[in-house]
């Protein structure tokens, strides 16, 4: 019974080169009964090794770490353990960093000074297979998007999407696979793939990471 309860807990690996930050985060996370911090790492290499050894559900990675940075560490961890959800902690709110983290396969992107509620919610969200961004990030990305559209006087490419494509965009951004979406919408896998190709062409995005970023900027997901 007790073992089963422990198994249900979300196993977390915490990687940050600042001891103070790590201690604070651990304190924060252990305040939650359903979380369990199973390992800590103070640099990228340690994080990769610890992820291999302790098989966590979620890895919380600081981007700025010695030896191996958080982005590269995320890629390596996902390469050997594809099921793990990665939440990146960063001091940067710039979309360049967000895009890089998404390309590396991160599910969540948090500003380091975000409220403690964000981290707890982020971990819960990514374990459900969805993406999570700090509210400042989504707000900023959306604002940038609106400003660009307005400044260039260009058409909002979102308006070009059909309702079905918008639906598929949202599901993709939430982390669903083509197969999941086919099942949910009662469509053939081929149809879903076609829709996805069309919407990527319309939005002029070339990768899954850019697609997610677009969804965040448009406020399709948060």
């Amino acid at each position: 019974m007790e073992a089963a309860a422990r198994d249900k807990k979300i196993r977390i690996l915490l990687a940050d080169d600042h001891t103070v930050v790590r201690r604070g985060l651990r304190l924060l996370l252990e305040g939650q009964p359903e979380f369990s911090v199973v390992a800590e790492a103070s640099d990228g290499k340690q994080a990769v090794d610890a992820a291999q050894a302790s098989r966590p559900d979620v890895v919380v990675l600081d981007i700025a770490m010695p030896n191996l940075n958080g982005i590269d560490a995320a890629q390596r961890i996902l390469a050997s353990n594809p099921g793990v959800a990665i939440v990146v902690l960063s001091m940067h709110s710039d979309e360049g960093y967000v895009l890089r983290a998404l390309k590396a396969g991160a599910k969540g992107y948090l500003l380091k000074d975000a409220a403690e509620g964000d981290l707890i919610e982020a971990i819960k969200t990514v374990t459900r297979g969805k993406t999570f961004f700090s509210s400042e990030i989504t707000k900023m990305l959306a604002e940038d998007y609106v400003r660009e559209i307005r400044a260039r006087g260009s058409e909002d490419s979102y308006e070009l999407l059909t309702p079905r494509e918008r639906e598929i965009l949202q599901l993709l951004a939430e982390g669903k696979s083509n197969k999941d979406i086919a099942g949910m919408l009662n469509l053939s896998l081929y149809t879903v793939e076609t829709h996805r190709r069309n919407l990527q062409d319309k939005l002029n995005v070339h990768s899954f990471a850019e697609l997610i970023l677009y969804a965040v900027r448009k406020g399709v997901i948060s």
């Binding site: 030896n67 710039d94 360049g96 400003r147």
Partner: protein, 479 residues
């Protein structure tokens, strides 16, 4: 001349003045020698011509006079013979008169010869004169002879007295002619001597002029070579100083970048992270306080929290202003996009970045150069151009990286702007052996273009250096 004197400006001046004086003296005396010897030659030639003509004239004249005398002696002999042999008294009288005439002519000729007499001839002249006098003396009694006398002793007289005398006189005249000829030869010899002297003088003058000229030429060549050497040395010194200056300014720029990077990292990672930790602790404290704490304590914790949050923002901005971490973490194009977004957010200018790049990252020197140029150009746009659109374009070609920045503002003079300005841009570009150009026209906006060639060795070196440097200075390649 010691090197120190020849390389110092004062020494150089002294050398120049010395050279001028020596050259003036040398060439002056050379010209003087040539002019004098030329004049001398002219004078000698004139004298020569003059004396030759005179000698010739004298010779001819005297020859002429002598010939006259000789022919008159001859003729007189003939007249005497005719007189003696002619039986008619009246005709004889005519001959006598003719003879008198001949005698006076001969005397005139002798007189005129006496005017041109020279010492060697004097003796012969006197002999001739005596002989003539005796000749006439011998002839004098003949005219008193009767016809019979003339017939009986005339021939004997002619044979024994007149003809030998005449022969004698002719011999004397020949001697004088020979002397005259000798004199001509002597005069000719004298003239040849003069000519030989003149030849010698000309030769000596020529030799002196040649030696002096050679000396001058050698001196001038040496001076010119030395001046040339000095000019070359100075040119090299200036070139070296310039390259050192360029090197120095490039190093200054590089040092500034390194410093900025270090401070930015320090601020961002150390100060920023510590503040983040403080924030986390504060949040833990706030949640730990829960409902136990009173309103006052809770609001104080909130106040501290917002103060720290503000400070985190300030520190982050400072770090980004010094050197955006994107440049090192994400590469050139993301850093440019960030910069464009920041300017767009802060001002009403729409800045867009179009990138046609193959490589994710470039050597540090290249991306720093381009980033700083874009930063400067955007600053200028913001302050001077009143543009509302700026298009930044980065193109990677096989062997070069091109940047163009086009705004739609009113155009402005880059030279007049503050900050790094065009000079700074040019220096940065020059340090990478690139070129840049500004095309600005009123109403047509400003186009700044930069062309940075990749130099295979530089690229390699810079990359190695860059990544090596980054590893050393920069424990967090991404953050």
């Amino acid at each position: 001349m010691p090197d120190s004197a020849s390389t110092s400006p004062r020494g150089h001046e002294r050398l120049l003045v010395g050279s001028r004086l020596t050259l003036a003296l040398g060439f002056g005396s050379l010209l003087l020698i040539m002019a004098l010897s030329g004049l001398d030659a002219l004078r000698v030639l004139q004298n020569f011509r003059h004396s030759e003509a005179q000698i010739r004239r004298q010779f001819l004249y005297r020859n002429h006079v002598l010939n006259d005398i000789r022919s008159e002696v001859y003729v007189s002999g003939t007249y005497v013979r005719d007189y003696l042999l002619d039986p008619e008294t009246a005709r004889a009288e005519g001959f006598r008169k003719t003879l008198e005439q001949v005698r006076s002519q001969m005397e005139t000729a002798l007189q005129s010869y006496a005017g041109q007499l020279n010492p060697e001839e004097a003796q012969h002249y006197a002999a001739l004169k005596n002989e003539l006098a005796r000749y006439w003396d011998i002839l004098a009694p003949v005219f008193k002879w009767s016809a019979a006398e003339r017939r009986s002793i005339g021939y004997a007289f002619l044979r024994d007295d007149v003809f030998p005398r005449r022969q004698n006189m002719l011999a004397i005249a020949d001697r004088i002619a020979a002397l005259n000829e000798q004199q001509l030869n002597a005069a000719n010899d004298q003239v040849s001597g003069l000519l030989a002297d003149f030849e010698l003088r000309i030769g000596v003058t020529l030799l002196i002029a040649l030696v002096l000229g050679l000396g001058m030429a050698a001196f001038s060549v040496r001076r010119i070579l030395r001046l040339e050497q000095q000019a070359h040395a100075q040119f090299l010194a200036v070139a070296e100083a310039r390259s050192q200056l360029q090197d120095l300014s490039a190093r200054l720029v590089q040092t500034q970048e390194t410093e900025r990077k270090a401070i930015s990292r320090e601020l961002h990672d150390e100060v920023g992270q510590s503040l983040s930790a403080v924030l986390i602790e504060l949040r833990n404290l706030a949640s730990g306080l829960g409902t136990r704490a009173d309103e006052h304590t809770r609001s104080q914790v909130d106040l501290i929290k917002s103060l720290v949050e503000g400070t985190v923002g300030v520190v982050r901005n400072m770090a980004l202003l010094l050197r955006p971490s994107m440049l090192d973490d994400l590469g050139l194009v993301p850093a440019l996009r960030w910069q464009a977004r920041e300017v767009s957010k802060r001002t009403s200018i729409d800045v867009s970045v179009a990138a046609e790049t193959r490589s994710e990252d470039y050597p540090d020197a290249y991306k720093t150069c381009i980033y700083r140029i874009v930063q400067e150009a955007l600053n200028n746009c913001e302050r001077h151009s009143h543009a509302d659109t700026v298009r930044i374009r980065v193109q990677e070609e096989r062997d070069r990286l091109r940047l163009s920045i086009q705004d739609n503002g009113c155009g402005f003079d880059f030279e007049q702007t503050k900050g790094m300005g065009l000079l700074g841009i040019q220096e940065r570009v020059a340090s990478l052996h690139g070129t840049c150009g500004v095309h600005s026209s009123p109403g047509g906006g400003t186009l700044l273009t930069v062309d940075l060639p990749f130099r295979s060795s530089t690229m390699q070196g810079e990359t190695n250096l860059g990544s090596g440097g980054a590893r050393q200075e920069n424990p967090h390649p991404i953050g």
